[in-house]
Amino acid sequence: MSRTGIVVFLVVCVLFVVSWVVKAGTGDPEGHYIRDGFLVTFAAFLTLAIMSFMYKDNPYYKFAEHLFVGVSAAYWMCLAFWSTLVGNLVPRISERLSNAFMVPHQPGEYNFFFYIPVILGILLLMRLSPKGGWISRWPLAFIVGTTAGLNFVRYLRSDFINQINSTFLPLAVDWQGFGHFFSNLSLNATGQFVAMFGNCVIFFGVLCGVIYFFFSKEHTGWFGRASRVGIWVLMITFGASFGYTVMGRISLLVGRLTFLLRDWLGIAS
């Protein structure tokens, strides 16, 4: 470690201790003020360590990253064990194991089905065996194939048929002749013209968008022109989506800054 690195490390340590002492000193004397002071200070340190990535990769970012990854991996492993194995499987397959884990036994007529995932799980672990590794491909094929098949029907309904239904829009809304249409022409959002224009945009936008996603035909001639309109429609949609999502991200940043300025430094109300 360079001399600058050591100096920065010492400064960080001193600032950490000072912050801890100050936060503990201003905490509730009847509560866990030492622990609370440490937690707020540590959370602020980790926030700043992650934000330091904007400058460049550094040891503080690495520390926060490894802590985050390690804690989350361990957390998910424990969660999967206690919620999936102990919470769902054990109560259905063994009364003795249920008693051992102190979870209520749930006898059921069809509980033998729960042995199927147990067997698949064991087969999946066979990949650790040098000779029987190939067996682990069977549960993988089962998982991927079954769920893909189930999703096929689900997506066909939600992303295909229901989407087609949504394009069944009348081009002529509340049509009472050209005279009525032109005499009441306005850009009112609930007006006839805007409704008809909106329906046209949706229909032709969908049509050109679908044409863009034709892969087995060359995009030339009128087909190519419709495809170009399709990509323009997509890009305009993506632009709107981008702006909308960025606003959401800024609210996350505001949340972190609020934590630093209010909960840690106490300089914002």
Binding site: F168, S216, F238
Partner: protein, 411 residues
Amino acid sequence: MRYRPILLFLLILLCFTTALGQEPTDETEGPPDTVVVDSSLLPAPVTNLQARDTEDDNGHSVTLTWDVSTDDGSGRDDVYMYMIYRSMSPEGPFDSVGVAMKGATEHVNSSSKDRAQPDFMPDHTDYYYQVGAVTVGGLITRSDVAGPVQSYGQFFNMGRIPVFVFVVVFCALVVFFVASARKGADLYVRPLAGIEAVDDAIGRATEMGRPILYVLGLGTAEMVATIASFTILGRVAKRVAEYQTKLIVPCYESIVMAVAQEVVKSAYADAGRPDDYDEDSVFFVTSLQFAYVAAVNGIMLRELPATNVYMGKFFAESLLLAETGSIAGSIQIAGTDEIAQIPFFIVACDYTLIGEELYAASAYLGREPILLGSLKAQDLAKAAVVIIALAGLIATTFGWPGFAEALHVEN
């Protein structure tokens, strides 16, 4: 109406029972107050209550229909809701299992199919129902008992016939085109810029002596985008094996990691270099979204990969990954079917596969008859979409609702 005196008597009895059950708090307290309800204040009960198994479902559900109380929307108009009661015996006791709003004439009593849940409702069991009309003042008049009724599941959901038709037609098209491709028919697939750039990017990584980072996203192994990504990973890994470049595949999910390891291993074997396969090149990181991002971002800045490939399902982490890759100076190729994330990849990556292009890419790269055949079938399905949408537009414009109704799918 003839039950009103009985109901009034029961109500008064209930009041007495409740009052007598209370311990006096003060020795000097007098006799408890009683509430006498004028039977004329009770609402008229619902009539013609019918209970039947809910159609086109997987059981554990009963549908009730009735004619509203005469005090709902007419008469005294003081009914504001209906209470649904269920029992396993016509004599009761009846438990409250739901409410319906004023004016409602139907209620679906769906309960859990999980035995462990307190509201579990077994199929093929007799149930009896009552509906109570409730006034604003809290007075309730129950209907006659309806039942017995049993719930059970149907094998075929008639409301999803359009889905069944599309599945059959689509599968037939896939089988036909796969057979054609196997017989040697030339199925054209238009070039995809993002995929054509993959080979160049691998070549660049080899020349620079830097690794290639392949991110499969946050999807699980059974997601369509992840499955498509596996195919592209196979292609990339094969090229990487041929060029003897380093490949890094950090995984978000354990099953995805297992499949990715198999894919990469097979690709190395196909390239004739099974010994070069490094098991540690495909590894699990964590299943927490932003912890995974932190780890991958760290890899990007430390390993400085020449090429980053993001293919699969991505969520809020897409811009974080792509921005860091851009800072690291990597060539970036992305593809996802997550519509909200495509804009971020478009602005931060060199090439982006939009939505279905990701699926087409796997067919384009693999050139396998099964993939090419299904791609051709998809294109025909899209042509059908265009024709049906056009027909629907005409039908709706001219006020023919039958066409839209024929394609309506019940949930």
